[in-house]
Symmetry: C2
Subunit: 620 residues, 2 copies
């Protein structure tokens, strides 16, 4: 097998597809071609007969802008056609600008730098968890990252945790080309990366990143390491063999046909999108070898474990006054008992978010059966790792922190939504009522900011019944967000466990002239207001709206001439989106440190102030 020639063909296909598309990233094609060749030809255990093969090796291209060279290898391994390669970056093609899991053979959508490293850490964790539970379940997780990925905080957090957890089947291939889009790396980063990895308990190997045999040998060594994750630092040249070599200009450069022709000459390949006969034969041989490695994982036990039906009917225990975070914790236990493949992650706040699986044990290097992963104060990596675990295919992953800090992991939440993953975010301490910790700990705009993310189901229950219904929905409609109160909430009369329509009446009168819409703790506020308005002879309906994204105002059996009022302790824009013509009583200001009642008064959100606003709106 002429590995270098095959690699040259792969690189040329990638560069030609970039040229054809008129955009793309050439520099990385030349810097990581040999790394990809060593990995895909000699190690990666994948097979196009069954792209979803459970025990296949996983591969994450964290440097997602290197998609073109990735597609070359997916083509050579039979996952993509030459037509796909030619359609690079075209609408509805299998070869989008950055890798997407909808493409056969792609294990992870990437693009935003750093995320892929956290995703790979998650996959490696999932492997150890299945490995500990099933026989003959074992594979490696590879991740190709660049200088950019290793500057991102999400990656640094994930690396620290990976070292702590001794994920020895995780192998990072670091394409160290020392150039980024804007500049040579030395302008922004001069750290001793080897020492940094060593400090994080990594096995560190260094190779010439253009020597396929050297890379191959390093991967063999890394696979043998039983105690630590490995990083193989591959010293490479961006834009190698072109005049842009070792320059940041190479990063986003589209090579001209003329420049491609010189490369063809230099590399001994002829023609556009063409594959020499000897390379064709090598490709066939490589495919055969992969097929020979393939052995379906037809374990009934595995299939049972990995199954995701969550048909669980929970009857309320009957808590009349409890915070929704506590209720969430109580009923999460029921799901956890029912399905072994639910696991729970927290960024150092299990004791506050109440999402720890009791008797689930703590996952660690010594206990791969543990169902609770203590992620440390690393929210962003936690969410990226959750995505990786979910991508692996067997788990429903619960992730928790305080709502005020959801912004720390927002880029990873967006990826959960984009990849449609089985991740359930439990976000507690859901409003300014958090009180004394002050403005930095009080969410205001966060709920709306989550409602804005496409393909994400945001749920905010008001009491025990809605917590039960909310959990059910959260497990069904992943990725999802459960937003929970810190403070105790009273049971709401007529509340329901059926949240399928997103909203429903908890108070209804034929004589009502007003609809009040609210969710979470504000439903209780609406009930207080209804009582007060009644004293003014104003009758109201109250509509609890735990899942605004599922709600359609047209489904509401209501007189059309009624006035609609929505109440929210946060910004509340989602009500505007869903109800349309509505008088919104909400808060657009930062919170304040103080007792709950003082904070609400300060912000004009106490019941008296809200009553005044409503009376003024009604012209009374």
């Amino acid at each position: 097998m002429n590995s270098q020639k095959m690699c040259n063909v792969a690189k040329l296909l990638a560069l030609q597809s970039i040229n054809k598309a008129g955009s793309g990233h050439s520099g990385i094609v030349m810097s990581c071609g040999e790394i990809m060749q060593a990995l895909f030809e000699r190690h990666l255990k994948i097979c196009s007969i069954n792209p979803d093969w459970a025990v296949r090796d996983r591969f994450v291209l964290s440097a997602g802008h290197g998609s073109a060279i990735y597609y070359s290898y997916l083509y050579m391994l039979g996952f993509l056609s030459l037509e796909d390669i030619k359609n690079f970056r075209q609408i509805n093609s299998n070869t989008p600008g950055h890798p997407e899991i909808t493409t056969l053979g792609v294990d992870c959508s990437t693009g935003p730098l750093g995320q892929g490293i956290a995703n790979a850490v998650g996959m490696a964790i999932a492997e150890t968890m299945i490995n500990a539970r099933m026989k003959d379940f074992s594979h490696y997780t590879y991740c190709l990252c660049g200088d950019g990925c290793l500057m991102e905080g999400v990656a640094l957090e994930a690396i620290s945790l990976a070292g702590n957890l001794c994920l020895n089947k995780l192998i990072l291939l670091y394409d160290m080309n020392s150039c980024t889009l804007d500049a040579e790396l030395k302008i922004t980063n001069t750290e001793d990366i080897k020492m940094k990895f060593l400090a994080c308990n990594f096995n560190v190997l260094e190779v010439d990143g253009h020597n396929i045999d050297e890379i191959d040998k390093a991967i063999i060594k890394a696979k043998k390491c039983k105690q630590k994750p490995s990083v193989i630092i591959c010293k490479t040249i961006i834009g190698k063999d072109t005049k842009y070599a070792n320059s940041n200009i190479s990063h986003g450069k589209v090579l001209s046909l003329e420049e491609l022709r010189s490369l063809e000459k230099l590399w001994g390949i002829k023609g556009n999108f063409s594959i020499p006969l000897d390379v064709k034969n090598d490709i066939k041989l490589m495919q055969k070898l992969k097929v020979a490695l393939y052995k379906d994982y037809n374990n009934a036990e595995y299939k049972k474990f990995a199954g995701k039906s969550f048909n669980l009917d929970i009857k309320p225990f009957g808590y009349d006054f409890k915070s929704t975070r506590e209720l969430g914790g109580i009923y999460l236990q029921e799901y956890a008992k029912f399905k072994e493949n639910i696991i729970s992650l927290s960024a150092d706040v299990f004791s506050s978010t109440k999402t720890k699986i009791l008797d689930g044990g703590i996952y660690s290097k010594d206990c791969r059966l543990g169902r609770n992963i203590y992620c440390g104060i690393r929210e962003h990596a936690m969410a990226g790792i959750a995505n990786g675990i979910a991508l692996h295919g067997e788990f429903k992953v619960v992730v928790s922190t305080f709502l005020a800090f959801v912004d720390y992991m927002r880029p990873a939440i967006r990826m959960s939504a984009l990849m449609n993953l089985d991740v359930i975010y439990v976000l507690t301490h859901d409003s300014v009522v958090v009180g004394q910790d002050g403005a930095t700990h009080q969410p205001v705009e966060q709920i709306d900011s989550l409602e804005l993310i496409p393909n994400l189901t945001t749920i905010r229950p008001c009491d025990e019944n809605e917590v039960i219904g909310g959990l059910k929905l959260a497990f069904e409609k992943t990725p999802s967000v459960l937003i929970m109160s810190r403070q105790n909430l009273k049971r709401v009369d007529n509340s329901s466990t059926n949240l399928d329509n997103g909203a429903y009446f908890v108070l209804k009168s034929n004589k009502a002239k007003i609809n009040i819409f609210a969710q979470g703790s504000e439903v209780g506020v609406a009930i207080q207001l209804a009582d007060r308005l009644k004293r003014h002879k104003i009758l109201t309906n109250i509509i609890s709206c735990p899942v605004l994204s599922l709600f359609n105002i047209k489904d509401l059996p209501c007189k059309s001439n009624m006035k609609n009022i929505a109440i929210s302790y946060g910004t509340g824009w989602a009500f505007l989106k869903k109800i349309g013509n509505v008088f919104l009583i909400s808060n657009s200001n930062f919170g304040k440190s103080g007792k709950e009642e003082d904070v609400l008064k300060f912000l004009g959100l106490d019941v008296d102030s809200i009553e005044d606003k409503i009376m003024k709106y009604l012209g009374k």
Copy 2:
């Protein structure tokens, strides 16, 4: 001076204030009391005569939950009264749950972990920049951080950059108590932190964090280091001297009066909120010494430099067809020429966001006069650093990346808004029209998610005039966001440089029955639609809305019976908030990799599709 006794009093005041408030963080009070004593008594050059003294040392309590002990020292140095201490965590007090810059003597609002380290790096950068420009301008920046801060990605990014920039006057005091809220540190973090700091080019010192003299000596050593930033690893015991010592239970524990009494006994102090006479005398002496250090920095040159009036009237050069990112870059140069204290930061995309100050030089360890800071691919630290530079007091800081990646720095943007800082975020590549890079690079919900943040001015210009007006506003109404197109946009007839009302007519007819609202590139789309609707004999007004937060629909001179339509390539919820009754044509789905026109068609956002939607809405 009996330093330990003063420290004991400081700790007791803190613990008593927590007890009185009924909430707060006791553990850290006991772990970092001696560190604070060494720093505040023997080093920190601050003075309550003039809290804003320009050359004062800066201090950032990155572990913001340690506010109580911070307030004790601010009291002892004359910034706070004993009454303030007793009002800990009460509404409108000077002693909120986490430190806020509205309190005299507090240099930085903190709370969300990790941010403070990036802020301190920014302050240290600012010091070097002024130091290089003015005579006798020199001070240190201290930052107290805990185990939690050092797990956060934003901190890890900032540390890497601080080492690269050799910020030798930055001194991190690391309160290594090895416990976090949920668990002992070893469960989540076993890295060799000393090695990690060494890898990042830090001078590393290690001390017993309960020995004031040892800490003092280490600070003296750190101050002498001329090439590197320093970290002093202070080994401490959380909840020291209580039964919760060395346990995570200590973190958020409120000590009972009984427990406080044992501490009083152990530490030789009597009474609630009381200060023994000898300590009172020591406090007086300490205050005197601080006053003796004080020398106002009355440099006229400095005052001129640090002045922030931006009364610049720019006349358009006359570009009829250019991207707003390019136009922004062109006119940013005019501001940069006009005011020397504008600096620009980018996360590796200066060449794409066009925000580099030409001839401004690159800031580096060898060039402190450089006005462009290459932050590497570290968006989150970049924004935190920008906050720190702005907090220092002299600079207007321009920060840039792609809009799709704004989520990476969102927690820091929230802090810009909360602290009302002079930071201007320039976010380019503003819609799905980015095209071939695909869904991960195409913003959809991002503009609305920024509009939601309190006290942040979001501006999206449609052409050259609005770019000029937008820049002016962005510099005036900081913190602000300028959202810029990657693609070229045609000049809009009747566009204005005056954006004070947030929105205005660019097309107006007395016979119009429809108002179309749009911003940025969609204004051009609205113009195309107006032409098409005219063919159907439907006349429209077009309202360009570059600054929705400044816009009030009531100010619009319009017939009340008109139909309102808003067009947005993103989610567009801000139009709902500002206009109320409006038919919104927008996009709630992720983007797609493909050519611009194909992507728009795929999402139903091409002009034909929008026209169809409008005609249907109008019942035609």
